[in-house]
Amino acid sequence: MRDVEVVSKHARLARFSFGSWAVLVYVFLFAPIVLLVAFSFNANKYGTFPFTGWTLHWYGQVFGDYQIKDALTTTLKVAAEVTLISTVVGTAAAFPLVRSNLPFRNGVRIGMTLPIMIPGLLIGVSLLVLMTSVFHFTLSPQTAVIGQSVYTTPFVVLLVAARLQGFDPSLERAASDLGANTVNRLRHVVLPLIMPAIFAGALFAFTLSLDEFIITLFLIGAHNTLPIYIYTQVKFGITPEVNALASLLLAGSLVLIAVAFALPLAVRKMRFAFRARKA
């Protein structure tokens, strides 16, 4: 790419224009978020312009608010259950998807990704009808868990299937030749190899669940997750408390991303050290 030296006299201008465009794009992407964080430290009690001084008051309020504490607990519980369900169901489904003699494999694969393709709104309302009119369940965090799992499981399936597809079958053949039965092959060969994908899938499901709004809105009933709580607060405008809560969530998701990037590296390092010691 770099070796393409444009023979146009406008080359420098072009480079400059595209560069400026990119700068504008990044400003566009980050300005709202930066403002949000800035306002969370703003003493102005309307949570917006003008800046009237720095304060940590709104953070104090967030930590003292029992509604937020409740919502956080519910959010984490729901996310944990969703992660468990979608990791198990998704990993189990990835195996036959890649390895069985499946007729219409591509059709099945597309079918499995359908919950991602159709708007969450439709998943939400259709499950609402099922839960209330057919099963007569009371809406609760549990019904929200089911709804979210429908949406997050496909991500696990895709990630794990890609990894299963990618690894060398002769490894398993070798294990088999050395006398490993199905269970041992799975435990000592296959699972360690696809672990990164399972982990990535679990992390994906967890983050998606933390953030999920529309399905949860229909299915959670009288309870609140953090997104639902924020929604009820901001329907009528901005509050500085929500700005602070939002900034905290932002920091939380940044930590999650950092973990997601750092952990595979750490694991590889550990394995390496382990292997070196054994040798």
Partner: protein, 306 residues
């Protein structure tokens, strides 16, 4: 050693250990892994969708759903001018937002592939995706800080003296909705366009220019036709979810920015299940049709059986 083996990807699917596998896990056993997924998807995805289809053809009498097959809900939907207008508005808002997203994303992807050192491209991509990893709700909400009556734009215009009292024009109307939708879906478009530009053979670009084509012609005649798959994928990832958007029009669109997603939610929260189901099904059918058209034009091959 095993590192080498694991990284040699693109392996054929596992048909092994050959003889043993077919005899032991023969027949239906190989599909056992699908069972939990079948329960989850069957009971909690397909059945509810079927219910929505059925509900859209049933009616409500005295707050009870009556299983009489009828087209009343659809007649009703199309007989209310506001609903029909909202449906058209949803289509053009989705179209406009998708077009603008792609128009912003293309020069960006071009810049990234053409002018940024390869070793830095990953970093700049992560920067694009970073806002995407923050809460969806918060990304919508954060725009109120900018577009609102006391938001950044109004403050700026007041300060420069262009206006003398805060304008509410920026918020609670369709332009605001489109802007926020572009913001929400830009990462999808940027990533897919980058992925397809990254595979582009720049020698062809050079060749076109050697043959006298100005850069603009080289882009429109050589580059963009080869990016067709990437562009279609980007459209799938942007246009289709926007059709079912609820939150963005709800928070920044106000009464004038309503989209069909808001209608559906209103129907359901007003317990008008059958009418809501009809509206939901209209969207679902539209999406399925679009997906089929797009898939056709993509001509996806089975990735697991290359």
């Amino acid at each position: 050693m095993d590192q080498d083996l694991t990284t040699s990807s693109a392996a054929p699917p596992v048909d092994l250990p050959a003889g043993r596998r077919t005899s032991r896990v023969a027949g239906l056993g190989q599909y056992a892994g699908f069972i939990p997924a079948l329960i989850l998807y069957g009971v909690f995805f397909l059945v509810p969708l079927g219910l929505i289809v059925a509900y859209s053809f049933w009616t409500v009498v005295d707050y009870n759903v009556v299983h009489d097959w009828t087209l009343d809900n659809y007649h009703y939907f199309f007989s209310v001018p506001t609903y029909v207008r909202t449906m058209w508005a949803t289509l053009w808002v989705s179209f406009a937002a998708t077009a603008i997203t792609l128009l912003i994303a293309f020069p960006f992807a071009y810049w990234l592939v053409r002018y940024v050192r390869r070793s830095l491209q990953g970093f700049f991509l992560i920067l694009v995706v970073l806002p995407f990893w923050t809460s969806y709700l918060l990304r919508v909400y954060s725009w109120i800080n900018i577009l609102g009556e006391k938001g950044a734009i109004n403050r700026f215009l007041l300060w420069t003296g262009v206006i003398d009292k805060p304008a509410s024009f920026f918020l609670y109307d369709r332009p605001a909705v489109i802007l926020v939708l572009v913001y929400l879906y830009f990462p999808f478009a940027a990533l897919t366009l980058y992925a397809s530009l990254e595979r582009f053979d720049w020698n062809q670009f050079k060749a076109a220019m050697d043959l006298g084509a100005p850069p603009r012609t080289a882009i429109t005649r050589i580059m963009i036709p080869q990016m067709k798959a990437g562009i279609v994928t980007a459209v799938i990832f942007v246009f289709i979810p926007i059709l079912g958007e609820y939150l963005a029009p709800q928070l920044v669109g106000g009464a004038r920015g309503v989209m069909i997603g808001n209608l559906i939610v209103n129907f359901f929260s007003g317990a008008q299940y059958t009418r809501g189901a009809a509206a939901a099904l209209l969207i679902a059918v539209l999406i399925v049709i679009l997906l089929v058209i797009f898939r056709k034009s993509l001509d996806v091959k089975d990735p697991y059986r290359a």
